[in-house]
Chain length 231, copies 2
Amino acid sequence: MAQFINTTFCTNCNHQSSMFKLLTKEELERLNKRLHEVRFNPGEIIFKEGGVLTHFGCITSGIVKVYTEGFNKRNFIFHLLKPTSLIGGPGFMDDNRLHYSVAALTSVTACFIEIDAMAEVIKTNNRFATEMFKMISRQASVYMDKLVSLTQKQMHGRIADTLLYLSAFVYESNEFTADVSRQEIADLSAMSKESSIRILKEFKDANYISCNGNDFVIKDLKALKKVSQTG
Amino acid sequence: MAQFINTTFCTNCNHQSSMFKLLTKEELERLNKRLHEVRFNPGEIIFKEGGVLTHFGCITSGIVKVYTEGFNKRNFIFHLLKPTSLIGGPGFMDDNRLHYSVAALTSVTACFIEIDAMAEVIKTNNRFATEMFKMISRQASVYMDKLVSLTQKQMHGRIADTLLYLSAFVYESNEFTADVSRQEIADLSAMSKESSIRILKEFKDANYISCNGNDFVIKDLKALKKVSQTG
DNA sequence: CGCGAGCTTGACGTTGTTCAACTAGAGTGG
DNA sequence: CCACTCTAGTTGAACAACGTCAAGCTCGCG
């Protein structure tokens, strides 16, 4: 049964991403009129690649994966997003199509803002436009780094990167219960599921991390960083 | 001996990139005051990664490679640029640093525009800002595709991609004299020089291409595209 | 208890890198 | 004009990295 959520008004939204803080009350109210909120269960697809980009998404709770269906039925995960990240990126103001899929890893709530409303605000609010600019620009820069890491480092370095990424950017803690499966850790690190498992075990044996099931503890940050750098 | 070039005025520049056509005469003249043109020899470095991003570059003749120094002294080439591409991308309006190096593959002339002048025009001209936005956005999208291709395809598919890229986007012809070395073809395809040579030879033996030295002819486009897709 | 999904492990084959030797052509100096 | 050197290209053989396959395991759930 569909759940229609009473949209939290942006104006009092406590998830307000830094970008939206730049908007005036009037602008926020304008966005508000063309916005709705949706709740997703773990595993559900939020955006499907190839589709038309009609809305920007803003994660208000939970974690999602941004991924694409690659070759030979292997997925590639670009990154994970948590509140209050914006989803839209490439395609916006260009071909207006979705260049990737987005799926919920946990229970997720997300707000959807019509593309046109977004474009309007960008025209009227210069600082907001600048922030959007920065956001996409940073994204490109992240992808550049990933290109180099994933093509030049070997598996140990790539898994170390993924662990550091989870700990530093996603869960912001040395201990976390991962919402990603082993397969998804592999999809983040561009390798097979079996390889990711083997390397995780090696790190565990070397006492760099401890992990049972999905509970991870980074025990030797320096060692991991060293592995990440030496490739 | 340094060569100081009399700057061609943007207003009558026949290399004018599509983006600059959106500017008014006044805006172009404003840019013009804060612009200079430089000539480079093959192999010379135009931008060095890590440096401060003080100027945008616009290639007016020749071909450059946009690359980064990866791990183990291996380079990775993101893409090649020809007139009239803009160089600047990530870092602009953000940390103002160069996230990659740029070097001349042929003799190159390039115009340099002060960052601040560029930022001003972006503020005053909305359509120009939108084009910049699209440009970065497309870049991100290209990087996403590359991420998947380079991590999931194997060598034959990657070399096929590089050949198709050179033919379709760089030289815009089925026959071309490449300005890239075998090493650089390898750096574009994320593999070792030896491997790239071997695969090129296989393609030659299979009569997909002919190549002696740096003269390439794409003889069987369909076959190459098929190799690119099957990975 | 049985079932299924995700996880784990080992054996094996493939893919791709590294190393080392060799070639060809382009410059350089005697 | 001939060594000489230097660089880019080429080739083969050995080796390491990584994926695939197949089997077994664990745990939650009906």
